[in-house]
Symmetry: C2
Subunit: 235 residues, 2 copies
DNA sequence: GGGTGATAATTTGTATACATTTATGCATAC
DNA sequence: GTATGCATAAATGTATACAAATTATCACCC
């Protein structure tokens, strides 16, 4: 019976930030699945904080579309409808195109080196660590966006990419990373020669492929125990 | 000495929603100006709620970029830097273009009628109600986005439009609505004939004009009394 | 007059208490 | 066996209490 102990608390920041980050990672790595109940007391116990803190974190995740909240009934991991999913993908494509427009005109060799290193990391993780591979695939897009130098754009990309994890968890086959590393490589290659149109085309192709890979078998295993899952994320 | 009384509470929803909405409106109508301190107790008194509720509302406004928060030092109305301002405008243009792409292919006559009514409203307000005119000008863009049918896109447009209010409060002359109603009319006219390119061109022109109108005189009157301002927004 | 430091008053961060709402369990009835 | 109600437990919404941090006040000194 997992003991409700507080972990030694590694990274600081305000406490709610670390709860937020932990939950977010659990969602993105698909450890917490759409529909899972997020009881405030349970989360508070696992992270060693009060409900006040948990509530702040949940509200933030709700604002980002990662958790659903019903008045007096609490929070659950969001279950985006197909229509919402389409909206997310459309918006994501719009945003990521703009990222590439910006990047093509301002990307440095150092930036490209960083991107390349990330893809190499993805390749390694893809072999043996499923959850990390999922997360890294998303983080490639987030890295791209942050290199664009536009913080607002980067934040929105971050959000839609996270929500895509959720969507893929719902509509795609489980634990496939859904981002072909080869497609990421093509984007880097286009950026390396500052060919913005080629980069955008590669991104369009990539995102369309991800979208298509969705809409497959939905996996639903019930009776999931949030306690044991959260132990791994209450860092 | 303004009495700290709770108002009769009109619109429901959760309590923090109404605090959020009230503060947001005060910011958008430029009643609260960039840099103004947002003391939790003061806001709580004005809205008749506890700090818990205020805190939730402030956190949400912070996530949307409308208020700055420093650890242990509380919240102030955000003061976007010029660089942030450029990021917001760039992102806004990207998003609103997509809105028009969608609208040009799916807009109904009823939608156009609603848009026209809104612009008529703007015209009326422009004559005598300064703050309302500012708000209505922004709401035209929000209405456009919501008619696009893409909720995600609409939420992001909502956010960047709000932040533009803040930016114009900082960098433009005070209390000018900054949205020429004529330019809104041109966008409607283009949509009426389903000419997406003309609509996008009109929007580009409009947003460029708004951007240009910024970067003018910065107004800074200090010693503002939040209490008296909030009385009008604690509905 | 203007700087300096100790002290008091605010203000924030977090936990806890309590009321209200929702979910659960169990006995009874059909 | 399934359904209905009530009693109980659990979870949420909000306010409040208290510690820690910040800011303001003011006497003191140069």
């Amino acid at each position: 019976m997992n003991a409700p102990v507080r972990k030694p608390k590694s990274a600081a920041g305000t406490r709610s930030d670390s709860v937020y980050a932990g939950l977010r990672r659990a969602i993105i790595e698909q450890a917490l699945m759409p529909g899972d109940k997020l009881t405030e007391d349970v989360i508070g116990d696992r992270f060693g904080v009060s409900r006040t803190i948990v509530r702040t974190a949940l509200a933030r995740l709700h604002a980002e579309g990662l958790v659903d909240m019903q008045p007096n009934k609490g929070a659950t991991i969001a279950q985006p409808s197909l229509s919402e999913a389409q909206d997310v993908f459309e918006t994501r494509m719009c945003l990521e195109r703009q990222v590439l427009v910006r990047l093509a005109e301002k990307v440095t060799n150092a930036d490209i080196e960083r991107l390349q290193q990330h893809v190499d990391l993805e390749t390694k993780a893809n072999a043996h660590d499923g959850p990390a591979a999922i997360r890294l695939a998303g983080e490639f897009h987030i890295l791209l966006a942050s290199l664009s130098g536009n913080g607002v754009l980067a934040r929105y990309v971050d959000e839609v990419v996270s929500r895509c994890s959720l969507i893929l968890a719902l509509y795609s086959r489980p634990h496939s990373s859904d981002c072909s590393i080869n497609e990421h490589q093509q984007i880097i290659d286009a950026l390396r020669v500052r060919n913005s149109q080629a980069a955008i085309d590669a991104m369009d192709h990539h995102l369309k492929a991800v979208t298509d890979r969705a809409l497959l078998s939905s996996n639903s295993d019930k009776h999931r125990d949030i306690r044991s899952i959260l132990d791994r994320y209450a860092s």
